[in-house]
């Protein structure tokens, strides 16, 4: 069993696991850190961005490079449509992947890169919310990039990476970066997904069974359990033990795995999501009270549902409930609609509301009361009439490189009464804001990451008792941001083997299959005659016709054999123990063979039957009967031998 690590970002994981000749891909996350190096895409041409000074490395005079790089403050940006870092395609041929398992909608953004144009022919499994919301994320991303077409595609800078300043000089594999896929690829790719439910057993070519259980992280998020007859591998991706809107995490099925692969732990190991949520509500409400607007860059699903709920309560408390909340995204309407029809995937508190019947999320009420309004874009019909300040705007993209958020920063950035509040943990907020500097609006950092922190992860591991634990190498060392906090690691323990892995590595997992499983039918079972060879140990020889279909082995009785295979043994028995020579001789004479001459040789004896022209050589563990072609005497000797030996 091998594990290939194709992603350099543990929060956008992509692995390939090979086991029993099946190639499984575990998640296909898309690392988007690369986009931070690009200039923001604005659909209203921004003079400020257009007029940023062109930057060239000191000793380079290549004219092709000119205009590709621009400077703002001390940072260099690429003036080109943003590029993304897809999973490594050198280690594994994607056309050989049999099955892709997707854990949650944040871990599937690279799917079109894997399945389209690569010869991929396998199956993709994901839960219904993962598919539906994942579709929204993919469509939103494509819309954001496509609505601001750029004519110039910068390519030359990749040849001069070593001459560029930090952080561009540290770019991860820039030559593998790709432009975003188009809507056709998105649709083709998503049409390959087969929806599965929690705890639905899926057979993979009869060799493996895969099953997903709730991971409590977001709507439809799951952990995967891969089992064969005797082995159990658990793949734990984004999971949460906190109580938010999704169904709680299901621990039980994850226990006692031979191998536990654990990834996608929190990106904010030091902060507590609850206090961040509280802080966010206060910051936003106070901004509104001060007459300023609050801008919350976000993904169109996930924590945003909890934000609507908590923020509206807090705004009520602080008397700013009349300020409207705007949710602006090309998929805002879809996201809100889907959130209210996926009751089966929600926490029981939310689920019970449906039995009344009420909508599971309170934002349905906010929508009815017009406290929350949604628009596809800032330029959509009706937005300018409904727009009133001060207000709260939720919009994408959290990287601040595309989407309507770009326009809102242009609009509000110069007013110190306004505030931008970062909640999504995927991007460093200082990096995200770099192309907009200097800005006057207040900046609040309230990253909310509900996935497991190190304390929770270590506790969970103790509870799950895996024999082998496989984690990204970075989880075995304190975070780069806090090198002194040595408790922020996955603990090693003598109870299990800990295997760290890095990007691009292929790991041999210590799982050796020793046993398989076959099904025996009644007629075979009835022929089993256990012989107790020692106290508590019984043996029985078993013979049957084997039928192998879809990797499932069935054994039934040989029955009536066709002529050509009549010589195939229907029953075989084995003799064991030592032969008692005296008893044997006695039986020989009972049968009328009286001329036996016994002489000791080596470890045993040699019995010579002169008249019968036969030799019997007897040792502790074997007997050899030599005779001429006379079958009668041989059969006679055979019968006597069989009487003297024990069989099973």
């Amino acid at each position: 069993m091998k594990l290939y690590c194709l992603s350099n970002d543990p929060n956008k994981p992509c692995h390939v696991l090979t086991f029993r000749e099946i190639t499984l891909m575990l998640d296909c996350g898309l690392s988007m850190q690369s986009v931070l190096n690009f200039l923001p895409l604005s659909f209203v041409s921004s003079n400020r961005l257009l007029n940023l000074p062109i930057w060239m490395p000191n000793d380079v005079s290549d004219t092709d490079l000119e205009g590709e790089l621009r400077e703002n403050g001390d940072r260099i940006f690429i003036d080109s449509p943003p590029e993304f870092c897809p999973p490594l395609d050198k280690l594994i041929d994607f056309s050989q992947v049999d099955v892709i398992l997707i854990s949650n909608y944040l871990c599937m953004m690279a799917l079109p890169f894997i399945t389209e144009g690569t010869g991929f022919q396998g199956r993709v499994y994901a839960t219904e919310p993962t598919l539906q919301i994942g579709r929204l994320l993919l469509e939103e991303l494509v819309t954001y990039v496509e609505q601001c077409p750029k004519t110039n595609f910068a390519t030359q800078w990749k040849n001069f990476v070593h001459k560029l300043p930090y952080p561009l000089s540290d770019s991860f594999k820039p030559k593998s970066w790709k432009q975003i896929y188009n809507m056709t690829s998105v649709n083709a790719s998503l049409s390959r997904i087969q929806m599965v439910g929690y705890n639905e057993k899926i057979d993979v070519y009869g060799a493996l069974q895969v099953l997903c259980t709730s991971s409590g992280y977001n709507l439809g998020s799951s952990n995967w359990i891969i089992t064969s007859d005797h082995e159990k591998i658990v793949y734990l991706s984004g999971s949460s033990t906190l109580t938010t809107h999704p169904r709680p995490m299901d621990h039980h099925a994850l226990k006692n795995a031979d191998v536990l692969i654990m990834t996608d732990l929190t990106q904010t190991p030091i902060s507590n999501p609850d206090s961040m949520l509280g802080l966010l509500c206060v910051v936003v409400s106070l901004t509104l009270r001060g007459g300023g607007n609050a801008l919350i860059p976000c993904y169109p699903s996930g924590v945003i549902y909890d934000l609507f709920e908590c923020l509206s309560i807090k705004m009520q408390d602080l008397g700013v409930q009349n300020c409207p909340m705007f949710f602006i995204s090309p998929v805002a309407d879809m996201s809100l609609a889907y959130s209210n029809i996926l009751a089966e995937w929600l926490s029981s508190a939310k689920q019970n509301r449906v039995y009344v019947p009420d909508e599971p999320f309170p934002h349905a009420v906010l929508l009815r009361n017009s406290k929350l309004k949604h628009f596809k874009h800032i330029y959509s019909d009706g937005f300018s009439t409904d727009f009133q300040e001060p207000c709260v705007v939720f919009c994408g993209h959290p990287s601040l490189r595309f989407g309507d958020v770009v326009q809102f920063i242009e609009l509000w950035g110069n007013n110190p009464r306004n505030c931008i509040v970062f909640t999504e943990p995927d991007f460093d907020y200082i990096e995200a804001l770099a192309p907009y500097q200097p800005i006057q609006m207040k900046v609040a950092h309230c990253a909310i990451d509900t996935s497991l922190n190190f304390t929770q992860a270590n506790k969970l591991i103790k509870d799950l008792k895996p024999a082998t634990l496989v984690v990204p190498e970075c989880y075995t060392q304190p975070p780069v941001s806090a090198p002194n906090l040595t408790e922020l690691v996955i603990e090693n323990s003598p109870d299990r083997t800990l295997i760290p892995y890095k990007w691009g590595e292929v790991i041999n997992l210590p799982l050796k299959r020793k046993q398989g499983q076959i099904f025996i039918e009644n007629d075979v079972a009835q022929k089993i005659v256990p012989v107790e060879v020692k106290p508590g140990v019984s043996l029985s020889s078993v013979t049957g016709a084997l039928n192998v279909k879809d990797n499932v082995h069935n054994m039934k009785s040989c029955g009536n054999t066709a002529l050509e295979c009549k010589l195939q043994p229907k029953e075989i028995r084995y003799e064991w123990g030592t032969l008692n020579v005296t008893e044997f001789l006695q039986k020989l004479s009972q049968e009328g063979i009286v001329d036996a001459k016994v002489e000791p040789i080596g470890n045993g004896v040699m019995i010579h039957l002169q008249d019968e022209d036969a030799l019997i050589q007897i040792e502790d563990n074997c007997t050899h009967v030599l005779c001429n072609s006379d079958e009668k005497i041989r059969m006679q000797l055979r019968n006597i031998l069989m009487q003297c030996l024990k069989k099973f």
Partner: protein
Amino acid sequence: MPDIKITPLGAGQDVGRSCILLSMGGKNIMLDCGMHMGYNDERRFPDFTFISPEGPITPYIDCVIISHFHLDHCGALPYMSEMVGYTGPIYTTHPTKAIAPILLEDMKKVSVEKKGDQNFFTSQMIKDCMKKVIAVTLHQSVMVDNDLEIKAYYAGHVLGAAMFWIRVGSQSVVYTGDYNMTPDRHLGAAWIDKCRPDLLITESTYATTIRDSKRCRERDFLKKVHECIDRGGKVLIPVFALGRAQELCILLETYWERMNFKVPVYFALGLTEKANNYYKMFITWTNQKIRKTFVQRNMFDFKHIKPFDRQYIDNPGPMVVFATPGMLHAGLSLQIFKKWAPNENNMVILPEFCVQGTVGHKILNGAKKIEFENRQIVEVKMSVEYMSFSAHADPKGIMQLIQYCEPSNVMLVHGEAAKMEFLKNKIKQEFNIECYNPANGETCVISTPVKIPIDVSLPLLKNEAKKFNALPPDPKRRRILHGVLVMKDNSTCLMDVEDACKEAGINRHVIRFTSTVHLHDPGPSLGTAHKLHALMKDKLPQWSLTFTDGAISVESVLVKVEGEDDDQKSVFVSWTNQDEDLGSYILGLLNSMGQ
């Protein structure tokens, strides 16, 4: 051979109060717990004394499964759990868990308040009963206990209807509940994978009815409604609150929109408004088309259909009214019927299946006068139309389902005995499998083959595969697996004999036979060996023979020629006792050659 025992307490050669007891592998499962609409006495509920003459039935039932929210499938649930006594788990889907208590409450009202029925369950009992209900999602594998596993499949029919696959050990049963195999205006078609159950228990409501195409029926329905309102008549459509009602509403809504009609369409207040809300929130259970478009326009927000008020009954002029219940056995629909029946301009369209004893059943059978409890006689002059919109599978659909899941046996329930006979024969003929249709209280015993899973050492399997794959492919060749089953410390494993002896700590005793045959064959001994090899290849085409250094071997049999350049050759044939048949056959072969 282990058995599966099935006893219908209801729905055996009958429609109504579905309740089937299933026993296998030491587990007892109750499939549905419905009431019979046609009776007012104790016959309306299944006879639970069959399970236990008195006292609670919890000790005898491991779980109860409810297929969908129709009262003939869940109507006796509070009675069973709260009055007879059952504290075990009850499984159903989320929509059924949400909607069933509403229908139960509605029926309780009709029975207790209108009919003055005593000894009926109360609202509190419905609530308490619902607390025992565990909601499952489609395809989720639920372990009821260590041995009993259930899984739900989409059944169409009504919102949240499911078929259930039930497994104990190697035995499995599929219970369909009610289902339909063609998608309708708001639901998809039933689907199941090739799960090959030992028994398929299927409904057979339409065992003989071949339904004409859906489109024709819809056109027919619209034409009749149109004609009636054209002549100024009133149209009464008795429906159950959820299910057909929504489908017909979608149908009328689109027709009204297209024809630009102004004639009012009413929906009886209460249940139905709420009902549409359920449809909005469980939209994932509707069909593809509705799910795709629900964000732009929720199909269950109706523009032309308005809430009904009792005083509209006497309003003049044409109108269309949907009212509950669907079989005209009580409630508002019956009240409206009594008022409108004497006028020949009016029409009643019955889209639901009406069980015997109900007014709906009577008028469908041509009754022109209906007598009620209080000696009130109503003349039926209005036209009476039956529209089979009820989403059940027709014979083609039932056969299709059998084909999908490939059961070893089929059992028909939820249908009429005579019609079942017809379908039963058809199933036996077409699929060559056994088909049963027990009556209520009659127990059916089906024996199933066993399959015992045992562990097997991988080297044993791999060696067999290697040996098999080495031979040229031949579809007729059988694969033989041979090994020794080691039973030690509660573990059982099949392995090859050497490993088995090692595991058991004993020594094998190998017996080998060597016989000598003398052949007259001049020339070098290698030449003789080649001849023998050719002969054996000819006689043993299924075996893999090897020829090395003048020795021929097949399995443990070894044939060697001695006597270089002599005319007389000695051929040694040697084999172990386990290859006795093969060894003695080869010896015989050589002997016959020597003569």
